[in-house]
């Protein structure tokens, strides 16, 4: 297990948080484009699963997460981290994948701090997805 709260991580988080604050200030609660990295069927199923939260609070926390983790900045990265490969194409599959991931996080103590809130990685990824908004 990597050392929690190493000085380097603190500094990285600080820089990422500054970016997040700047991004939020620039476009409060606007949803970001995703680049169309996953199939329409998978994306539709994800949003139909009802597990991606909505609202300003979710979007802002999601942006913080994405800015702090550039490797999970796109919708494709987040979906793969959450749903595996190949990606689920049905809402039930997404729900089960998310539940497995969330319970696994709790078991392993995988958590992250977002604006003070201690959330599991799975919650953070779902929040990240929330910042993209549903498919048109």
């Amino acid at each position: 297990m990597p050392a929690l709260w190493s000085r380097r991580e603190l500094l990285c988080q600080g820089a990422a948080a500054s970016l997040a604050v700047a991004a939020t200030a620039a476009g409060c609660a606007r949803r970001d484009g995703d680049g169309g990295e996953i199939s329409a069927a998978s994306r539709s199923a994800l949003w139909n699963a009802g597990i991606v939260p909505e609202g300003n609070a979710a979007i802002q926390l999601g942006r913080r997460y994405r800015h702090r983790h550039p490797d999970q900045h796109s919708i494709g990265d987040l979906c793969r981290a959450l749903g595996g490969d190949p990606l689920p194409v049905e809402p039930g599959q997404w729900r089960r994948a998310a539940e497995r991931a969330l319970r696994g996080d709790l078991e392993a103590g995988r958590s992250i701090e977002l604006d003070g809130w201690v959330v599991t990685l799975t919650e953070a990824r779902l929040l990240g997805l929330a910042s993209f908004g549903p498919a048109d």
């Binding site: 709260w5 990422a16 979710a58 998310a98 103590g109 929040l127």
Partner: protein
């Protein structure tokens, strides 16, 4: 019996086998240990039976480091000492507190937990506590099991049915709350009055500890009342038992023969000052009510209250290379007002969103709308276990008190290692309390990503008035002021009692441990002086 310095002849000389300086928790414990024996004791107490403002002023001093309580307000100077205002929180040290930890410079006691166990047992009887529960050795890696593990209290075990925490990350540690707290002066005044072999000399302030010029030993202590009456106490052995601030002060001020003070050949007297630092960690949003309630203090059938604390598992402390802080639920404190707070309405909105997110994924609600959001109520506090730092110290200032003794200057330091320990505890708590359904944490701003990487977190810190470390024990005189028997290195008949002996801070409040150490010292002195002392049954 009690005596009053002010009614003795000017220049009177009292002879004793053992002179105990100070009648607080340590001094009274020692006096009781020898009451009724063949030894003649003189216990020198600065105050009287009740508080006196002029005497209390002798404690005034200056604080130049981390902001702390005024030095004349954090302790009390009359019979019973600071037990006259303590809160009665008791728990034994953790095994790891006493261990030398490579990741914590200067850590390690010259004693093991096993060395203290019989004395803890006697100490808890003296304080009227339930049996003391020691840490389960299964939690400690790389150490041999020992009988210590058997000394578990059923009551505490039941209480620990508390939260199903992952033992690799967190563990519950209970304080017993001695309620009402044992005020040593009141509780044992009758015994002291009846002890024919013990003279408790009131209104007697030690103004000098006089070392012989011929041999490395104390000859006498010079005492004075505020009104100018003076006397001298000669004894075979002396024990300094004035607390973690006054013990080093008197040693440093006793510079008639050794210019830098008694026992200070290596410049260590007064260094390594430590205090438990208290700071608000997080707001807690209650989860399932029955789990959240387990964070609260509760009273057992014995009448003793137990307060649960949450500590990092020993294995995790090793892995993360941190100290041993403890967190607990408590009311928001005034000091927290110095830290920026969050907007409660927005926070509540976010909390509900997060709960809904989890429910949508698992089909289970992480909370049951138990207690209301505690923004103005209960929060998670932390009781930090400071790491030893020679630059954190007390020294003599330029000013003198009414009796001509230099006043203290306290330079308390906390560093990056202390802050990092807190960060690890906060994150671990956040994830574990949520996992077990007790609640969701929102960390204080100073713990969040992007918080200033400077000392501003100290704005919210308060001390706990638990001065430790200033006459630390160590086998090597270059590492400590006293040896493992609490004898001052290089002085054959001078001992120290109290939390100033702790070379590394312990996780819980110090009183039970300092009482146990004092009882251990009593056994040592009894052997040396050929006395059989009665044991508290």
């Amino acid at each position: 019996v009690f005596a009053d310095l002010r009614s003795l002849d000017q220049g009177a000389v009292l002879d004793a086998d053992l002179c105990v300086i100070g009648a607080g928790a340590a001094g009274i414990t020692l006096a009781r240990a020898f009451a009724g024996t063949d030894l003649r004791l003189v216990v020198v107490e600065s105050g009287g039976l009740t508080p006196d403002d002029a005497t209390q002023q002798l404690y005034r001093g200056r604080s130049v480091g981390v902001d702390n309580s005024p030095l004349h307000g954090s302790r009390l100077r009359y019979l019973g000492g600071s037990t006259n205002h303590w809160n009665g929180w008791c728990a034994p040290a953790d095994r790891l507190d006493l261990a030398a930890r490579p990741w914590i410079p200067h850590s390690g006691w010259p004693l093991r937990l096993e060395d203290l166990v019989p004395h803890y047992e006697e100490g808890r009887r003296l304080l009227g506590l339930d049996p003391v529960r020691f840490e389960n050795v299964a939690d400690i890696e790389d150490e041999e099991p020992s009988d210590v593990t058997e000394a578990r209290a059923d009551d505490a075990d039941d209480a620990e049915a508390a939260l199903p925490l992952d033992p690799r990350r967190l563990r519950t540690a209970f304080w017993q709350i001695d309620h009402p707290p044992t005020r040593f002066g009141e509780a044992f005044r009758g015994e002291l009055a009846a002890a024919a072999n013990v003279i408790v000399l009131l209104w007697a302030n030690v103004v000098d500890i006089a070392r012989s010029r011929e041999r490395a030993a104390v000859e006498h202590v010079e005492v004075a009342s505020l009104g100018g009456r003076r006397a001298r106490v000669r004894a075979r052995r002396f024990v300094l038992a004035c607390g973690g601030l006054e013990n080093p002060r008197l040693l440093l001020a006793a510079n008639g023969v050794e210019r830098d003070g008694l026992g200070n050949r290596h410049g260590l007297v007064g260094r390594f000052f430590m205090d438990h630092f208290q700071v608000e960690l997080a707001a807690i949003y209650a989860g399932r009510a029955e789990r959240f309630e387990l964070l609260r203090q509760r009273r057992r059938a014995s009448g003793i209250s137990y307060r649960p604390g949450l500590c990092l598992a020993a294995a995790l402390q090793r892995r993360e290379e941190v100290a041993n802080p403890v967190a607990f639920l408590g009311p928001r404190r005034r000091r927290a007002a110095l830290q920026p707070q969050d907007d409660p309405a927005r926070a509540e909105e976010t909390r509900r969103m997060l709960d809904a997110l989890v429910e949508s994924v698992t089909g289970e609600s992480p909370g049951d709308d138990g207690p209301a959001p505690p923004w103005d109520g209960e929060v998670i506090h932390m009781f930090g276990n400071p790491t030893p730092d020679p630059a954190s110290r007390v020294r003599l200032g330029a000013e003198r008190d009414a009796l001509g003794v230099p006043r203290l200057e306290l330079d308390w330091r906390l560093g990056e290692a202390d802050r990092r320990s807190v960060g690890v505890l906060a994150h671990t708590l956040g994830s574990e309390l949520y996992r077990v359904g007790a609640g969701r944490l929102r960390l204080a701003r100073w713990l969040r990503a992007g918080a200033p990487d400077d000392d501003s977190w100290l704005d919210g810190v308060t001390g706990a008035n638990h001065p430790m470390g200033t006459t630390r024990m160590a086998l090597d005189p270059r590492q400590g002021v006293t040896d493992a028997d609490a004898r001052v290195h290089g002085i054959e008949n001078l001992y120290v009692a109290g939390s100033s002996l702790f070379p590394t801070a312990i996780r819980p409040n110090p009183t039970l441990t300092l009482v146990a150490l004092t009882l251990r010292l009593a056994d040592h002195l009894a052997r040396e002086m050929g006395a059989a002392r009665p044991v508290v049954r």
